[in-house]
């Protein structure tokens, strides 16, 4: 089977090479140039990880004195010491991992669910105000309001949402970009499934959870993953709203300040690489889901 796969890959490659050179010369040259540009950027992104991994194997002095050389003697111990030394406001790696998982898994799940439910009910049911939501979300997106961060901070502070797990309450909003995506998705789901279910005696909840929601599960999965990645890496909000409940993204910034203070850049870079592992694993398994299931059809009036 492997031999057959290899043969078909070579045949495919051969066919592609023939097709490639059958193009007009200008197009061939364009593709070659684009290919080299892509290679440059791809290699530069890989270099971040390479540099980080190598820096994690050096001593602090080596990083400062010769940042681009290979380590004289690889300090593998650094990658173990990270788990002992990584501590931000009383949270170690696992504590911060917990916080990251809590906010980045629960948050997108709740937010996507609420958006999905709101989009479904406003798309499929006619009631007073059903069109209001689409209008409001459209206006919110194309006319952003600036400068309300201070007011928002004061409200969160007064409600006790700063440095609190209750901060997750902010995920309970459904009126955002994902609402538009779900609304568009439900537009292409036929109502006849629901009609059949109603005839069989199903109620509205059953129709949604057992029939309609599964139809948009692919896009739900893709949006959940996108939101998970964005929330996982969100350091700016974490630094402001959760400094005492550090996530990996926000905590690693505070940890940077700590390690610079303690003359341990080696541990810092080792920590960087370790904290990058969870999203890389997830991407490795779900990249096809991410790439092929999100379609933004625009706003239909």
């Amino acid at each position: 089977m492997i031999r057959e796969f290899k043969m078909s890959w070579f045949k495919n490659l051969g066919h592609r090479i023939v097709c490639f050179f059958n193009r007009p010369l200008s197009e061939t040259i364009t593709y070659i140039i684009v290919f080299f540009i892509f290679c440059t950027f791809a290699l530069s992104y890989l270099y971040i990880f390479f540099w980080g991994i190598i820096a994690g194997l050096k001593t602090h002095s080596e990083i400062v004195l010769s940042p681009f050389n290979l380590p004289k003697s690889p300090q593998w111990q650094n990658y173990i010491d990270v788990f002992r030394l990584l501590n931000v406001n009383g949270y170690n790696f696992f504590g911060m991992l917990y916080n990251s998982l809590y906010f980045s898994l629960l948050g997108p799940l709740i937010q996507n669910m609420i958006s999905c439910m709101l989009a479904y009910v406003t798309n499929k049911y006619k009631f007073l105000g059903s069109k209001f939501y689409m209008l409001v979300v459209t206006v919110m997106l194309i006319m952003p309001i600036y400068g309300s961060g201070g007011s928002a901070y004061r409200l969160y502070y007064n409600l006790g949402l700063i440095n609190s797990y209750a901060h997750i309450i902010l995920a309970f909003g459904g009126m955002n970009m994902t609402y538009l995506l779900y609304h568009a998705a439900f537009s292409s789901v036929s109502w006849s499934y629901a009609e059949a279910a109603f005839i069989d005696g199903a109620n509205d909840y059953s129709v949604f959870f057992k029939i309609m929601l599964p139809q948009v599960m692919k896009i739900f999965g893709a949006l959940f993953l996108l939101a998970w990645i964005a929330d996982w890496n969100n350091y700016s909000s974490a630094l402001i709203y959760l400094p005492k409940l550090p996530t990996l993204a926000g905590g690693i910034y505070l940890f940077e300040l700590d390690m610079i203070y303690h003359v341990r850049r080696d541990i810092l870079y080792a920590a960087y690489m370790i904290t990058a592992i969870p999203p890389l694993i997830l991407f490795a398994f779900f990249n096809k889901t991410l790439m092929s299931n999100v379609s933004l059809g625009g706003i239909k009036e």
Binding site: H60, S61, V64, L65, N89, G90, G95, Y98, L101, Y102, L105, L106, L109, Y165, P243, L254, L257, D258, I260, Y261, H262, V263, R264, R265, L282, F285, F286
Partner: protein, 519 residues
């Protein structure tokens, strides 16, 4: 692959369920510190002083006083105290802040910090003098507020000065400069020394490094400590121009002279390239690894860098050179050579009265000798900024005070000095300082400054409300060092342009200073 995906999806769902469950059931695994009268929470700022001394103090205190329990919560974020202290028990559950206190406003400190006067008037059990009497007098005076209360005490810190590499400035080819003019010549000679091609005279870190602790010394040298402390910092123009005086703030005084002195010794080529964007530990790492000859730093330098190098014997802090323009205020000192000769005599004397008024190369008046004596011995320090503060709303206030008393006991001071080998402006109850027989040259030098230096403190208790609440800073927040050492000529400025910028900033912001200070 599909099977892996299914497994991973199941793991994710299980993880989700576990997270929600654990969050609700276990309070997230953090052990909460009990809040009783006998449970003391210490918030400690981890810095170059280290934490070993505090761990020892806590361990021994709990052994001696088993009814108390002490918990240490450490942090390297300086803003923790600014963000929490003074917000009441609901937010701030700390009983003792062992933290930099220069980031909180004096208003907040006075309102929410427990006066520690009764700690200072206590004699620790078995000792013959009070804790206040153990303190070096000028340090204690610096900790006293105008209302005669002590809202914070010192747990450490050190002296600022120009640290030099003794392997280069060893008295043979290069001698220690006595005046800023000599420092300028030394800088030029070092720069032109081909053997030191890759070792520029200076290195600092971003935002001017610690240089501000040197140029404010030069300011105080020129104007005199009395003017600095009692006229400039309170902006007190006297009866005809009561505080806050704009005229005092804009006056061409020691600040301008200090900037001129800086402009002669700091140029882009004299400074390690990259200094203006470096973190402080990176700059220190390079300095310790012989990549520059001099760096303005503090007593904690080698302690802070011990994981990088044990280079204790190669570095010392020089006595801050006297600003050469001081001769403008000294009628009997003709030139820099005479000033240098007088300084030699000052360095050989143990107090101002002992300084001969004439000698080889100089003949001066008593007033000028005293002025230069004071100038030669002024040193910046931050003992007052490294504060021990107890909030008024602390639950374990009395237990906290007992800990502070123990901190200053002879027993704990011995442990402190054994752990840190850093200076502290206190003595044992017999009047002696630490036993330095096992200390290196660097450590011993720092402790010696405690008895010989005229301290210039980080927080001036006499400071005008324009500085403490108005948002003003003596040099208007201008980054003098970056302006002098920028490689890009467009980013560079000379001393007169820098001074004009300071004056312009103060003039344009004067009204907002008054508004912010509610005047």
């Amino acid at each position: 692959m599909r099977l892996f995906k299914k497994i991973l999806t199941s793991i994710l769902i299980l993880l989700l369920v576990m997270i929600v469950g654990v969050t609700f059931l276990s309070g997230c695994g953090r052990v909460s510190i009990p809040q009783t009268e006998n449970d003391v929470t210490i918030k400690f700022w981890r810095s170059g002083v280290g934490q070993t001394f505090l761990d020892k103090a806590v361990e021994n205190f709990q052994k001696k006083y088993p009814q108390y329990r002490v918990y240490i919560d450490s942090s390297t974020n300086r803003n923790d105290i600014k963000n929490n202290f003074g917000q009441g028990y609901d937010v701030d559950k700390v009983d003792i802040w062992i933290f930099p206190v220069d980031s909180i406003s004096s208003k907040t400190l006075k309102e929410y910090a427990e006066p520690l006067n009764n700690v200072l008037t206590t004699k620790y059990e078995g000792e013959s003098i009070t804790i206040g009497e153990k303190y070096e007098s000028s340090s204690l005076e610096a900790l006293k507020w105008p209302d005669n209360n002590y809202y914070s005490l010192s747990y450490g810190g050190g002296w600022y000065g120009i640290v030099y590499n003794e392997k280069i400035i060893n008295g043979v080819k290069y001698k220690l400069p006595r005046t800023t003019e000599e420092l300028e010549y030394l800088t030029i000679d070092l720069y032109h020394d081909t053997a030191l091609k890759n070792m520029p005279p200076y290195i600092h870190y971003a935002d001017g490094g610690y240089w501000d602790y040197i140029y404010k010394v030069w300011q105080a040298q020129y104007d005199g400590m009395d003017y600095y402390t009692n006229t400039f910092m309170p902006l007190n123009g006297g009866e005809s121009d009561p505080a806050p005086s704009k005229a005092i703030l804009l006056k061409e005084d020691g600040r301008k002279k200090a900037i001129e002195a800086m402009s002669r010794i700091l140029k882009p080529s004299y400074v390690y390239n990259g200094s203006n964007s470096m973190t402080f530990t990176d700059a220190q790492t390079l300095f310790i690894q012989d990549k520059a000859v001099m760096m303005v730093n503090g007593s904690w330098l080698l302690n802070e860098m011990k994981s990088v190098s044990n280079a204790g014997e190669s570095f010392k802090i020089m006595k801050t050179p006297v600003i050469s323009s001081i001769i403008e205020k000294c009628a009997t000192i003709a030139d820099d050579a005479e000033l240098a000769a007088l300084i030699d005599a000052i360095d050989a004397a143990s107090n101002a009265a002992e300084v001969a008024l004439s000698g080889i190369g100089y003949e001066v008046s008593r007033a000028d000798a005293d002025k230069v004596y004071e100038a030669r011995n002024i040193m910046s320090n931050n003992f007052d900024a490294h504060g021990i503060v107890i909030p008024t709303y602390a639950v374990a206030k009395n237990a906290a005070k007992e800990f502070v008393k123990y901190f200053y006991s002879d027993e704990n001071l011995a442990n402190y000095w054994e752990a840190t080998q850093l200076p502290l402006p206190v003595t044992y109850s017999n009047g002696n300082g630490p036993d330095m027989s096992t200390w290196g040259g660097w450590e011993a030098q720092q402790q010696q400054f405690t008895t010989s230096a005229i301290p210039l403190y980080s927080i001036q208790r006499t400071s005008s409300v324009i500085f403490t609440a108005g948002g003003a800073r003596p040099y208007a927040g201008v980054n003098i060092v970056s302006l002098l050492t920028a490689n890009n000529a467009d980013d560079r400025a000379d001393s007169s342009k820098i001074w004009n910028t300071i004056v312009l900033n103060h003039t344009s912001k004067w009204q907002s200073y008054l508004t912010n200070a509610q005047l």
